[in-house]
Chain length 315, copies 2
């Protein structure tokens, strides 16, 4: 490994540059501090207000431009919305240090690889990454050190990847609390279309329907928001820019899954119309089993969260 942080082997980088200073970048900064990282953290954001706030919070040394922020960094992480990655890559390219590892945190990998890779100079190692972590909040104030704990961070190394760069980035995310895995780019985008992108679009849609309902006033829908809908509104409160870019940049896989979803919904809708009770019961029994799988995989707890948030929050 090249350029280990002087204070220890846990984080094999000496200077981390964060481009974009929202939820993910601010959480990286907090998690780096928690891990005892004593190297430099530099960063920048497009908006002057975000830069000002990030400086105030002491997230990093804040610069006005991406080129200044990446100068001398041995790890550069692009933490901007997927649709902005290409322009940022082009902007930082001339300023990147020889041998630097360039990575990102985008929820889509195919489009990011296509947008970023052509701009990077030889001698720089590009390792796309996606930490499966987030909250419905955004901005530099939203970050916290534990965001990545026990979450997966998926690396999607390109065919000509540098094993040393991948190993160092793996060590980096492990030090931040994540479990690291590797996956092929297209497969990542399809798996995430199923587990994240389509569910988000569906939640946005259902909340949109509720908003439109004429016979049901908005206040009644909100006042009596039951567990199912309340969870949807939480999902549908995620950052609009980030999600617009996810859908536009994982278009094919998202449309494929939405097509399957619509077929399946029509089948269940027809079963309700035809009053086919046995079909519905069998279907709902099968989906219950998937939940058990997720709990066994350690990605959620069996604690009855559903509908209990308020009571627990008021304890």
């Amino acid at each position: 490994m090249t350029a280990p942080a002087p204070e220890g082997r846990a984080i094999p980088f000496a200077h981390v540059a964060l481009i974009g200073l929202g939820l993910i970048a601010s959480s990286i900064s907090h998690a780096l501090r928690r891990a005892g990282f004593a190297g430099r953290i530099t960063g920048t954001a497009r908006s002057a207000e975000t830069r000002r706030r990030a400086a105030e919070l002491g997230l990093c040394e804040v610069f006005d431009t991406p080129a200044e922020a990446v100068a001398g960094a041995d790890l550069v992480i692009l933490c901007v919305p997927v649709g902005a990655m290409g322009a940022v890559a082009q902007e930082i390219a001339p300023a990147l240090a020889e041998g630097a590892v360039v990575s990102d945190v985008g929820s889509v990998k195919g489009a990011v690889v296509a947008a970023v890779a052509p701009h990077l100079p030889p001698g720089v190692h590009f390792v796309p990454a996606h930490p499966l972590a987030g909250t419905e909040h955004s901005g530099p104030d939203a970050g916290f050190a534990a965001l990545f704990d026990n979450r997966w961070c998926i690396l999607t190394p390109l065919p000509d990847f540098d094993p040393d760069a991948v190993a160092r980035l793996t060590a980096f995310w492990t030090a931040l609390g994540a479990h690291v895995d590797e996956m092929e780019v297209a497969r990542h985008d399809l798996v995430l279309a199923v587990t994240s992108h389509a569910p988000h679009l569906i939640a946005y849609t259902m909340v949109g329907v509720a908003d439109h309902m004429r016979r049901v006033t908005k206040n009644e829908v909100i006042k009596y928001s039951a567990a199912g809908f309340r969870d949807f509104t939480r999902i549908a409160a995620s950052d609009p820019t980030m999600w617009r870019d996810v859908f536009l940049n994982n278009k094919e896989a998202t449309l494929e899954i939405l097509g399957r979803f619509t077929e399946e919904l029509f089948m269940l809708q027809r079963a309700i119309r035809m009053e086919d009770g046995p079909f519905l019961h069998e279907y709902f029994t099968r989906t219950r089993a998937i939940r058990r799988g997720i709990i066994e995989a350690g990605q959620d707890t069996a604690a009855p969260d559903f509908g209990r948030v308020v009571a627990e929050g008021r304890k």
Copy 2:
């Protein structure tokens, strides 16, 4: 008020009978004890195993038949799936005490009123009710005293309702921790189709799609279950019998909302296909505002729950 509990005015009933001993009935029992209720609690369940377990847990005096369980009770609460309400009402009718209040906890009110009301003898007061509370767990072990705390319980009194019966049932649910409100039957069923029934069917559908995916193995979908999908699986783990009955018994309102949902989804799907970024951004910004309304209405907290369940569970 007639027949106040001897030990206090908080719960104006002396003998509560619970028909069906699952999540809701067992939570009522725990909440009654927490409220200091010293009257009788009797109950029954169709399955011998549930009756045995309820007796073991000391939830109530357990009887083998609904008729035995309701004998002498001044409050009878039907806690069975919506599709079983009619048969149970027919069975208990001859055994009901003069002046008893009969209520239920069904998620659908129109179908329950139609199934139950014709069986009840004169001199018995039927007040349909729906506590908006639950978890994805079911059975007599799933109950807990705080389930109804700060949740709404909606009463849907019939046109010829008895004001005293409604007042006593209101006092009952208030003592259990709930906020009580009244609504017209059909309006209840439409509001709940928006806020609960349609979202549940959609969650079941999305989890079904994930289960079917051939190119994505089940294990990968489970292993990398991100926040959106994880919340859906929690919803889709709810009791299959209860939900089959909800959809079959709130068919018209559910199909109406699903029709609106599909129209809306097609519009968003088209925006993705046409790459209409401004439309998507505007839509997602609007849905975000609804979330704020729910937090302001006290039905959820602003704490970033999304994706944090595991980390918090391990603290």
